[in-house]
Symmetry: C2
Subunit: 447 residues, 2 copies
């Protein structure tokens, strides 16, 4: 399967495209991507995935195999199939920079294109942005919790498929993680990769002692060893003995760290630290893993667990507490006229919009305004043109640059937004008077 397949879409996008085509509806539509409601477990969200969206839009086309499949469905006339053969995305894209914090109802991406094109790309655009944004938002909480302690993504195995694994690593790195265990993500995005051994390596030996010794000798460079296959404290004592032996043989520093992956990590890390220190190995660090999330990271640090790094897996890559966001892509304007959906509980603000973010005198973000795109409001506009007529207007920032942008932007948020739980004042987001006026006018006009 190609991840750029034009068939990565819901069938109704094609059914509608066919109707737009046959009805001659070629006017320009404006769609906006936003999250309707912030999950209670999140105080802010982080934009991510724009780079993949632009790649998708630039390369969008139907192959002859795609067209053959669609023709075989018997749903579409050949005139439409012929049209699809020539289709390319020719629209304009405005977006928040990757790594920017955002809130409910704020568009993070705006597509302006002939309605058929703008409609067709809905499913994959949501699919790409929803996932990475969800993971970056979860990762940002881990980063807040870790207060500078090293964080690695260990989540590939339970990520929802290959693309999820690779994009989770990217989104976590964007939000401040230090690296990933997922090799393919390392290759694709030049993310630092890490990882040394699993319990199976120990178990494949008749004794843990032999396994540790052989692993260190085979690795030939400073490494992390896993010590809890049978009993973490006994494992730590074996590491001390081995480290002493290596020092005596003139090969110090071969054991960089020990990893503990089970049990009560506070108690175990303290006891293991004690064993390492008493054994004259203060340089050997402790890393922790095993079902961790931001709340456990915070609790471990609160309990002063002597830890140099965390591996965060399933709960990050599956965004376990918030496995989906209420992210939608809605028509806001067609043929120059604003549009509004009024389905119960799913109402939208009409018109093409812009977000302005105001900072207070101390440099802290103070308020956002959701305004019309042609309005001016106080603060800095967050949506920028990134693609025009189907081509990028400039190269996007590198992942490292976006990571810096994310770090700085998150730091500017009010302090309460960095807390993981407890009561707090939500970040103020105001809808401009002009947007209200437009919505009221449309409601009065009927439909």
């Amino acid at each position: 399967m190609s991840n750029a397949s034009a068939l990565l879409t819901d069938l109704y996008e094609l059914t509608m495209a066919r109707a737009y085509h046959d009805l001659g509806m070629r006017d320009i539509a404006v769609f906006e991507l936003f999250v309707r409601r912030l999950p209670p477990e999140r105080r802010f969200l982080i934009t991510a995935g724009l780079s993949q969206v632009l790649e998708y839009l630039e390369s969008l086309h139907f192959t002859s195999a795609d067209l053959q499949y669609l023709e075989g469905l018997g749903l579409f006339p050949s005139t439409f199939i012929d049209y699809l053969a020539t289709l390319r995305f020719t629209g304009t894209v405005h977006a928040m920079s990757e790594g920017t914090p955002y809130f409910a109802q704020e568009p993070i991406l705006r597509i302006t294109a002939p309605i058929l094109e703008a409609q067709l790309v809905e499913s994959r655009i949501i699919n790409l942005m929803h996932f990475q944004s969800m993971i970056a938002s979860k990762a940002a909480r881990c980063v807040s919790a870790a207060r500078g302690t090293r964080l690695l993504d260990f989540g590939m195995r339970r990520a929802h498929g290959a693309e999820a694994a690779v994009f989770a690593a990217r989104a976590a790195y964007l939000a401040g993680f230090d690296g990933t265990a997922t090799v393919e993500a390392g290759r694709q995005f030049a993310i630092p990769v890490a990882g040394t051994m699993a319990h199976s390596f120990i178990q494949a030996h008749d004794s843990e002692e032999a396994a540790l010794r052989r692993f260190v000798s085979a690795t030939g460079q400073p490494t992390t060893v896993l010590i809890d296959t049978y009993d973490a404290e006994r494992g730590a004592r074996r590491v001390v003995a081995l480290a002493r032996e290596l020092k005596a043989a003139g090969s110090p520093g071969q054991i960089h760290a020990v990893r503990i992956d089970s049990g009560d990590l506070v108690e175990r890390s303290h006891r293991v630290r004690h064993i390492l220190d008493a054994g004259d190995c203060p340089e050997i660090e402790i890393t922790l893993s095993g079902g961790l999330d931001e709340l456990q990271i915070a609790a471990l640090l609160e309990a002063k667990a002597p830890v140099a790094g965390f591996g965060v897996g399933t709960r990050l890559d599956c965004s376990e507490d918030v496995p989906s966001l209420d992210m939608v892509y809605k028509l806001e304007e067609y043929a120059g006229k604003p549009r509004r959906k009024r389905s119960l509980g799913k109402e939208t603000w009409p018109g093409a919009k812009q977000i302005f973010r105001e900072r207070d005198a101390g440099g802290v973000d103070a308020r956002d305004t959701i305004a019309l795109a042609d309005e001016t409001a106080p603060g800095t506009p967050l949506l920028h043109e990134v693609m025009r007529d189907g081509r990028r207007v400039a190269p996007l920032p590198s992942l490292a640059e976006s990571r810096d942008h994310c770090r700085v932007s998150v730091m500017r948020l009010p302090a309460a937004l960095h807390e993981l739980s407890g009561a707090y004042d939500p970040y103020p987001v105001t809808v401009s008077a002009q947007v209200h006026v437009l919505a009221d006018r449309m409601d009065q006009a009927g439909e």
Copy 2:
């Protein structure tokens, strides 16, 4: 990105592979894939993803680009890189047939191969089987709840990436869904595809009435129209008027169904049904969507909502209530000796194993036994050899055949397992005396 990349693995698999290679550890290992604990929200799980695992194992190889990246990491000696260039999977695979119900601690897949190969494939095997099994298990609950009402997968947009969307559609279909909106899944797996229109089509017109009329005319075949963009009951009255007009013009049957996607679906569906019937359109069906899951489906049917089909999206494709399973891949035997992990709370049963399922006189599944692979226990063995020396022993069943197998197998489970909630007796799974004896013997032997 290729979904078959050999770099879809955790770095530690490669670090261990290098150690196995350099240490000359070439003996046969047995790894088993199983779920440690059943989530409280699931009474059984469904195996899925075997077909993708076998494709992965058959095609596993490192490309020169893969090797170049690995070499550039500076972690691996060139002798190991050269070895990887020649690596193929040469092992044996035993597995439960796709669509088989299973329970905690029961191996659903067993890999027997030189330890380096068996280890290297861990991350991707879990990644493939975990996701599809999780989705098939969620889908099976929806199928139980729907009691024969048509079910469609609408979840692509919030699935975790492209592969998740396509495999979710496959897993849901395997578990009894009737189709999917995800076109790429339809193509890859010959799953029926469905989908007609979104709110944006209605909004792109100045009136809902014009939008409905034009959509039906452009579609040219029986279709489903969405009626809740502004007001579902008004939408239903417009559908009645349009259907009458079409009948009068000699084109009956163009409107097959109406879809409601918001609000109180019980109340709305009853009111809309009343409007359709009163308007002499009893043949127009009602389909429902919008944040549905198995509990809401059950509640809607309990309330006698007049519904012919459900669209299930986010909560299916993200397995919202259970976004991960505690699925692991553990070493059970190496060089002919059983192996056991004893990390606190993560203990494993040693040795290569088989699952036997016994049925009672009434044809209902009564009990499973987790036995050693060379034991005989009452009932039918569930793990079959599907690959030998890296090649399939026979073609797997088709997806349609696996779907039948799933339907029949789920029907054989005790009735209480089909209930969605409430107290129940968990399905009895026994560990054979021989497995117990082996575990005790290993515990006494130390490590």
